[in-house]
């Protein structure tokens, strides 16, 4: 045997790790996509294909095309709606309504505008979407959250909490005393707070040192102080907003939470906590104190929501107290949703976008310059740079996270990571 042959033989035969079931898993995906691709090829007429497309997309199919057509038709209604008396009433509570036509959606998810990586929860489990648009399913987990810098993902399934790398490689798993939910990784990186049943617990980032912080908590994700200390905000079983030192387990402060509060988030700078319910938004001021370990919970600042409107989701910008929210109005002529921005020092909210139908959750880009908004009604994501209208829309989101499943449910955006 020549030495070149010896090298070739070594390369062919040296044992390498092959993930279990990887060949079959890939075949299922490829066969599904191939079968999907065959369907539109039989279509005689394809009116909505992008002009820039040189070949039929693997993800194009009859249902998304109908959704695209619906999106375009609905978009055309926006100007009419906003000029109507009811539309004028929506304008009455904001000072700058942007209603430019929604751009033609991209048929598939490409590069993420502004960069970063997304964590997306589908019915099959969480996916990591890389900057170039490539995606990876982490496993059949039920909830997921990024570590502070996106090197790991804390995932939950049943009573198991695990830390995995963004490529799915598991690092550790821990069996909690109750069903795990609402896990949140601390900004300083070495603790994860989560709920196990009704209890609020904290575990170290290496899966050790699990402990109970509160015996009863409301089904809302806790919020870590952004100041690098172990202070944790949570809503108690009785509906109070409470601050606790997760190391010493000393209760630091308490105040009534918003009625039916559904979400809390601690603002960058540590001086406010956002509370959101279906009908209201407010910032609860917090005063960190240098000489004493106990911060003061102070007054609340309500953020105006129009009467009758429902808050669908709200999120704080990464480095300031600007709040972005999705609100939905039901009117005689149908549902409309707006993306609204509440900036510090501005008395009135600013509407960035209003569309027919219901919008879903909202996420800030890591640099705070863009928003990603889910539009499940038309199976799209909208990328919205602040102050520059609507940048792009991406269609066929459901199938992007469930290849081959034509009745896939719309996935949920869990996070957009990370500022370095």
């Amino acid at each position: 045997m020549s030495r070149r042959d010896a090298l070739s033989k070594a390369l062919r035969e040296v044992p390498i790790p092959v993930p279990e079931d990887s060949e079959a898993r890939g075949l299922r995906v490829v066969e599904t996509v191939y079968a999907e691709r065959q369907r539109p090829r039989r279509r005689a007429f394809h009116p909505y294909r992008s002009k820039s497309s040189t070949a039929p997309s693997q993800r194009e199919g009859g249902r998304p095309l109908r959704r695209t057509a619906l999106a375009l038709a609905l978009t055309a209604l926006i100007a009419v709606l906003m000029l109507s008396p009811a539309g004028a009433s929506v304008r009455s509570w904001v000072d700058d309504v942007f209603t430019a036509a929604t751009p033609k959606p991209e048929p598939t998810l490409g590069e993420i505008p502004g960069g970063g990586r997304l964590l997306v929860q589908s019915a099959a489990g969480p996916w990591v979407v890389h900057q170039d648009g490539s995606r990876r399913l982490l496993g059949d987990y039920e909830e997921a959250t990024w570590s502070p810098r996106g090197l790991y993902v804390a995932v939950a399934k049943g009573r198991t909490l695990s830390a995995v790398e963004p490529n799915g490689t598991p690092h550790w798993s821990f069996t909690a005393p109750g069903r795990v939910s609402d896990q949140r990784w601390a900004p300083f990186g070495t603790r994860i707070a989560y709920r196990a049943g009704q209890a609020l617990r904290v575990i170290a980032g290496d899966g050790t040192g699990d402990r109970t912080v509160a015996g009863e908590s409301s089904p809302i994700a806790p919020a870590w102080s952004p100041l690098g200390d172990p202070t944790l905000a949570y809503v108690s079983g009785a509906g109070a907003l409470r601050l606790v030192n997760s190391e010493s387990l000393i209760d630091l402060a308490t105040a009534p939470a918003l009625d039916d509060v559904a979400e809390i988030e601690w603002a960058a700078g540590g001086k406010a906590i956002l509370e959101a319910s279906r009908g209201a938004l407010r910032l609860r001021e917090v005063q960190p104190r240098k000489l004493q370990p106990r911060p003061l919970i102070e007054a609340t600042r309500p953020l105006p929501v129009p009467a009758g409107a429902t808050v669908v989701d709200a999120a704080l910008a990464p480095e300031q107290e600007t709040v972005a929210a999705v609100v939905t109005n039901w009117r005689d002529h149908g549902t409309r949703s707006s993306v609204v921005l509440y900036r510090p020092g501005e008395t009135k909210p600013r509407s960035l976008l209003t569309v027919p139908g219901s919008l879903g959750e909202i996420a800030w880009s890591p640099d705070g310059r863009r928003l990603l908004v889910a539009w499940p009604a038309v199976d799209q994501w909208l990328f919205l740079p602040l102050g520059r209208g609507l940048e792009s829309a991406v269609a066929n989101i459901s199938r992007a996270f469930a290849p081959g499943n034509r009745s896939a449910s719309f996935p949920r955006i869990e996070g957009w990571c990370c500022r370095r």
Partner: protein
């Protein structure tokens, strides 16, 4: 499609792994390459062999991944969320370890030449490189591999 996949997946995966040295990434790359091939079937001249077309996609994606990963490791080196677990038991032989020490660009040409058995001219076309660059990367790669005991004689053949 299943037949085509079964015929080519193992080599595609192995080529990707030997460039990126990450099983999960290699799985993704092999799968993505097949999906890209499916997406471009209309443009593919079916009189030509499928394997070189697929391997071109695999190795280029593997190179892209390896470059991104190298950059990410530089950027992320400061983060220490928790102590990483020790790496799994080293798989394979000194061969894998020696190959892993090569720059990704050299790994790619070594894999294309000695695993997938393309000529330097074909490799140049696949990677969109001058042939001289392919030859120099091969030479450097093999010189470094030769330093390992197991492959000591590999470079001598070329002399």
């Amino acid at each position: 499609m299943a037949e085509l996949y079964s015929l080519h997946w193992r080599r595609a995966y192995r080529a990707a792994y030997l460039v990126v040295h990450d099983a999960a990434a290699a799985e993704d790359i092999a799968q993505d390459a097949f999906l890209a091939a499916v997406d471009a079937l209309d443009r593919f001249d079916r009189r030509r062999p499928f394997a070189p077309w697929l391997h071109r996609i695999v190795v280029n994606r593997a190179l892209d991944w390896a470059r991104r990963e190298a950059l990410r490791r530089q950027v992320d080196s400061a983060e220490s969320v928790f102590e990483p677990l020790p790496p799994p038991e080293e798989v394979g032989s000194e061969m894998i370890a020696a190959l892993k020490e090569l720059p990704a660009e050299q790994r790619a040409v070594v894999v294309l030449r000695h695993l997938l058995e393309y000529t330097p001219g074909e490799i140049a076309s696949m990677l969109d490189l001058p042939r001289g660059t392919v030859n120099s990367r091969l030479r450097r790669g093999l010189d470094r591999l030769r330093e390992t005991a197991e492959l000591d004689a590999v470079g001598e053949e070329r002399r």
